[in-house]
Symmetry: C2
Subunit: 192 residues, 2 copies
């Protein structure tokens, strides 16, 4: 890859990130980005169509790091006991902490992903009111459980939509009940 391209794209990413710390993505203009990156506006359009595309490149970097940190435990462990999956092997939360500023930027309620956050928040509220009434396990953080539950339902809906509504709503409801009552089985699987 041409060194000029690498430098330009790196400068654009840098500029976008530093702007996103200061203001909403919505309000950042391409002119501002190139101004901060000290590049010509045409250079931006040579590589990207929208600022969203540039942002996707930034996301790519973080996602690659996530994939690495998720797979990291398996590199040292020869066999994986699913039932006894220790919380220490779950590295994803460390990854998030390492990219703290990024995730804060990305997931703040007002930000980008308007609809999914809204839907998630609504379901979470409903969960808090209802499904948690019977729970008395003091060791479990209620807010975390509600958010877990809310977004898991969102996940099922997204999968359903991606499957083009092939299943019936009744099937979906049944699956939800089954998954909630499901537990991973304690088998030991040899690595790869």
């Amino acid at each position: 890859m041409d060194r000029r391209v690498k430098k330009s794209i790196a400068a654009l990413k840098e500029a976008l990130i530093s702007l996103m710390v200061e203001k909403e993505f919505r309000e950042i203009t391409i002119s501002e980005i190139v101004q901060r990156a000290d590049l010509n506006r045409g250079t931006f359009y040579k590589h990207f169509q929208y600022k969203e595309d540039l942002f996707n490149d930034v996301i790519d970097d973080v996602m690659n790091d996530l994939i690495e940190s998720y797979q990291a435990p398996y590199k040292t462990i020869e066999v994986l006991d699913i039932e006894r999956l220790q919380s220490s092997t779950i590295r994803i939360f460390h990854h998030v902490e390492n990219h703290r500023t990024f995730y804060q930027m990305i997931l703040r309620p007002t930000a980008l992903s308007g609809f999914q956050n809204r839907l998630g928040t609504v379901i979470k509220q409903l969960s808090l009111e209802d499904l948690l009434v019977g729970s008395d396990d003091k060791a479990i953080n209620k807010d975390l459980l509600a958010s877990y539950h809310a977004y898991s339902i969102l996940g099922m809906i997204i999968q359903w939509v991606q499957d083009e509504f092939k299943n019936t709503p009744e099937y979906m409801a049944e699956q939800l009940v089954k998954i909630i009552h499901y537990r991973p089985i304690g088998v030991t699987v040899p690595k790869k």
Copy 2:
């Protein structure tokens, strides 16, 4: 509320929805919206700042319907047995089907919520590779389970961010394990 306002906003919502069926939200201009709504551009800016704000109004309508359909079962049932929560009481999937076009529009992978979808997809992929290895329950749809699992983790991360990283990553990982092993308790709670 002034009848003119109600009519204008309704026309703008209508116009936006019909445009969103045809093309990406990104590519819809405010000029197009008012043109289709047969209104002056200034009228749009009287009520909204960005097209995102108008879109939020559309979302509000659907969310209100969701809240209703979620709470509907409890209106007829006097007591609620959490353990025996029948799938038939879970109305949320019917709500989604009733707004099929809307959800398809909103949740298609290329659309709006870039980052969360990306994050969800990555975690789902990783889940499919790993956590499902030991599962042999033929009654559970693997893709649904993976998506459920992926977005539930996303939900925990979002909650963590909203709590301003008060907890440690180790705590988060422990909570995840606890929640996965958690089951709702079979208590019967009197309605309100």
